[in-house]
């Protein structure tokens, strides 16, 4: 706590006295690392290293040729408030622990690159790797820096993905400088709010009468989509639309004794996943939904009118309530030997 108070005082002092005192000189008065140099360093050394941070090194900044690392303490001299917020993140926890175990592991400069030139001329864009608009760092440099540690896994398909091609940076969705979200170091409080920055139209579709429980917080956009890139269409996390749906609707997987071909082909043939004004996310009202394909002789192809509704003169089961589905209830496929028409 004493150290925190001291740093705060130094921070305030920094603002007023930097003009008189060189930043490098001032930084030299600070500890080498924000948390190093006390008894905890010894206990950390007894523990296994954190492999995820073991290879962390000073990021390469092509725009700051000749720059040298200056260490976290120098950065904090001017960026103490940022450091305060950053200290509550998982990145800070890991980098600080790794830095204590191996002082060669940088903290701020692992992501921002060597800071000496920036410290000398802090207003020159590009001398430090920055992740904000107009900061002078190309987006390709930003993402490359993040991928230096986060390559593979969910980011395996980032290069060439639709978000990469739209020139998005990691920091359009993430802000690792503070703990805004419960997890994922997002730029907004939730995954869904983060996606809605650009996809507000999709977010609004979840307000329609039938929708999946995204506004209620039970699911998130990333349950179905991988925003970091995917080899699949529309950034889906699975090889097909149906595989995505089966993650929560495994009962629809089958295979069934009698399949409904468009169902097996693609759930989106009939459903609009982001919301619909129809019942059950349907793309059209029943029976018109079914009548887009079914013209067979008999009953499927008659044009219904309001006369056939429950308050009409000729109520008709083909349009009332769930319409066709009242009889063809197993529309997703039937496992009954008497189910070719999905009656059973």
């Amino acid at each position: 706590m004493l150290r925190l108070v001291a740093w705060s005082a130094l921070g305030l002092f920094c603002q007023s006295s930097l003009a008189q005192q060189g930043k490098q000189d001032f930084a030299a008065q600070l500890p080498a690392s924000s948390l190093s140099g006390d008894d905890m360093q010894h206990s950390a050394e007894r523990l296994l290293p954190a492999p995820g941070f073991a290879n962390a090194s000073v990021a390469d900044n092509p725009q700051a040729v000749g720059a040298k690392p200056v260490g976290e303490s120098t950065c904090i001299a001017c960026h103490q408030l940022e450091a305060d917020h950053f200290s509550h993140t998982l990145h800070a926890l890991g980098l600080h622990a790794a830095s204590k175990a191996d002082p060669a592991i940088p903290v701020c400069e692992a992501c921002h690159g060597p800071g000496s030139l920036h410290a000398k001329t802090p207003t020159t864009p590009g001398l430090i790797i920055a992740y904000t608009q107009h900061a002078g760092t190309p987006i390709s440099t930003q993402t490359k820096t993040c991928l230096a540690c986060h390559a593979g896994g969910a980011r395996e398909q980032w290069v060439g993905s639709v978000h990469q091609r739209n020139d998005l940076s990691c920091s359009d969705c993430h802000n690792p400088m503070a703990n805004f979200s419960g997890q994922g170091l997002l730029a907004k409080n939730t995954i869904n709010d983060t996606c809605a920055q650009c996809h507000a139209d999709v977010r609004l579709q979840f307000g329609k009468q039938s929708h999946m429980p995204l506004p209620e917080g039970q699911i998130s956009c990333t349950d179905c989509h991988n925003p970091h890139g995917s080899a699949n269409k529309t950034l889906l996390k699975t090889a097909s639309v149906n595989e995505t749906c089966y993650e929560c609707h495994a009962e629809k997987r089958g295979p069934f004794l009698f399949e409904h071909a468009p169902v097996r082909e693609n759930c989106l043939t009939c459903h609009s996943p982001h919301g619909s004004n129809q019942h059950a996310l349907l793309v059209a009202p029943v029976p018109l939904l079914c009548q887009q394909c079914h013209t067979a002789q008999g009953h499927p192809n008659d044009l219904q009118s309001p006369l056939s509704l429950g308050n009409g003169p000729h109520p008709d089961e083909r349009i009332m309530g769930r319409g066709c589905l009242t009889c063809h209830a197993q529309i997703h496929g039937s496992n009954a030997p008497s189910g070719p028409k999905f009656h059973e």
């Binding site: 926890l93 359009d172 004794l257 009118s305 509704l309």
Partner: protein, 866 residues
Amino acid sequence: MSTVFPGVSSQQHASLRSRVWIALAGATLGCWSMWSFAETGLGVDSGRSTALTPLLGIADEGLDPRGSSWLRPTARRSPSGNLYQCPARSAETPDSADWNFSGVLRVGGVVNSGDEDNALRQRYVHWDSGLILGLLDISVVRPADGSYAQFRASRINEDDQYYQAVFGRAGAYKVQAFLRESPNILSDNAKSIWNGVGSNRLTLIDGLAPGASSPAQVAAASAAASNRMLSIRREKQGVEFNAYLSPQWTVFANVSDEQRRGERVFGGPFYFNYSASADGGVLETIKPVADSTINLKGGLRYAGNTWRAEFRYAGSFYRDRYTRFDYESPFSLYPFLPNAASAPVFQGQFAMEPDNNYHNLQASVTRRLPANGELSLTAGAGRMSQNDTLIAPVNCQGVFGVDANGSGQPEPDNPLLYSCANWNTPDSLSRRTADLRIDTSLIRAHVVLRPVDALSLRGDLSFNREDYRSTYLALNPLTGQYGYVTENGSQGSINPAAPSGAGFWDANLNPSVVTRIRSIPIDKQTTDLSLGGEWHVSKANALDLDMDFQRYEPTHRERSQLDDLRSKLTWINRSLDGLTLRSSYSHSSRSGDAYDYDPYVFAYSTSLPGYVVPPDGTPAYTVDAMRVYDLADRIQNKYTFTATVAPRHDMTVNATVRAERNGYAAVLGRQHSDTTGATLQWEWQPSPSTSASAYLGYDTSELVLANIGDQDAGSDPSLGGAAYPDDGRWWARDEQRTRSAGASFFHDFGKLRFDTHWNYLRARGTTRYQFVTASALAYFPDGTRVPGNEFPPLKYAVNSLSVGVSMPLGSRFALRIFDNVERGRVSDWHYLGFDANRVYDHRVYADGGPQSYNANLLGMLLSIAL
């Protein structure tokens, strides 16, 4: 405990606790056995919350009054131009302790009033008046080695809650366990004429006799039945784990188990009622939902400077408590044949969804190439299978069909009456279990080259295939007949003269019956080649061109080959200060080989050697001009436009416009499908103590289809022919318009933090139609009533306002009071008349449809810093 979790009995507590402990124990064990975690690239469950967490329960922390930086007074922006939020106030964490502790407990209560049980409002949030746990969040970290642990919980009621425990060491491993229960309320006004709702056997309530009740009796029973709520509750537990084995190697895995319990409206066919007054039966039954799914995922990953690789397994195991679902029909049946009687058929059945297994293995390797390139190769194989015990074709007892001679016995002189014993036993099946399997395979290659900074080129090639490995033959070894029993035996008991008879084909008795005799395997494969390039024309302009060719090859469909050629051009512009523009246009042209309107002959009795073509010819399967829209020729154009503008340093405006136009080459079938959407968002963050936002949204969709009513069961499939004369043609246009608006405002009045949110959505659907002559209609106008040209509008509107005030009570306590008033209006023409009546002749409906509501939720939360 009971004060924190009101309404949960001690037995439920024990159950809940045991599940929590099982989950936590699993997490602990998982740590040692290398279980793992979910991420954006793997599986669902990427986040957990309740309705309290994202909106109503927040806003008592406040934002850090110091802002985010001492070097600049305003918030910075993301590269695309959106303002970053100001961080919340964070607790001071002493760095001298071995473990630093922080925590918050938010407990309180809500009063739910108005139409409190309305299913439309409560669909996914089951508000109950009573105590709530807004949030329990306990965190400990040990800076010395980066260890951390967190417990997080929120609870609205027993149907709507989650508990989550995480521990790990940053950069080393992470273990997470969770328990989540979420509601899905489907109806609050269901009426049942059956006992046993929730089970897999519905029996008629007292006063109704199976197969012998009049519509008036059934209507009276339905009217007397009290409204009941139908819902499905999901309970899910899971353990997730990942760990670094070295700086390059990581292992990950997760396992989850989800149970669903509840009931939903379903169906129950006993032949048409529309075509024969006081006959048949159309029953909206209530089906049980009682199943569980175990999902497994795991793998090993390598990420080096030159090579990356991943080996992954995914498995899913679905188990349904029931194999079958039985119900009783209250109605008696009458044959179309004069001077005859229908068999007393009243027992209906469904096969429940089969237990199924899924396995998938996938391996991928990526190598960095010269010129900042990458080459990735992926191969995968999977299997979906099920071998559920098959139910018998029918569950009637005695006889079904038409008793033509009055003997009541199936005999040569009574050929339309059949013995149930020949069809209600597994012995009547060609096999006892389903024995079905689909094998999947996947191969992908992905290459990216970036020869110069301003230019990157990419190519993708993928191949997906699904193979059905077995088919089912509908052959009854007891009778030697092919086919099945239609609609629980009711069709054969009412209209055995229908082209499909009673549902089965017999070489001697009914050699002209057209019925299904085998399942249809829908093998398919997709080959996709994509080439693209990204060119940064200048510092402020980038272009991206993508060319994609997809060949889809299904079997046993109307087409065996479908080619889709798509091109997409994207332009990103940042020329103007504070403005980011992204726009794209894509054009797709889909076409295929010859369209076969009836590719299913092999699956029907018409393919059997003894099939006899009836005198008027085999009825046409469908009209040859119909084009199913998933396989029809299609021209698609898509436009997207997004702009992010910073009119002031503390303000952001976002605008999006998207449009999609689909034109289908279909004389009959879907002809057009268009959507358009636009949004406008405004965000203002003048200081940490004040922020506001607002939005407008507009969304419209239009769908046009054409169809034709047939005039007889003829064999001519041609449009305009005898079976499908042009005067039966009709068209329909469905148009949905949705308008939405909203605003939020936060402000700190000294120590009082005020927040308000308003959300409004109004949707209106219009379904219009036109027809050549009245012969297209399901019913001919009777002279006094005309069918008009549109349905009543489908309406849905929600207007919701939330207001909250948070105030500190000393250094550790804060109080939050909030109120949400919401008004919902809905009108769905499918349910018109259901408020007065659920029984129409031989039709019985359980669900009354969505209902309008007015509701208020008043809540108070006490926040305690632990």
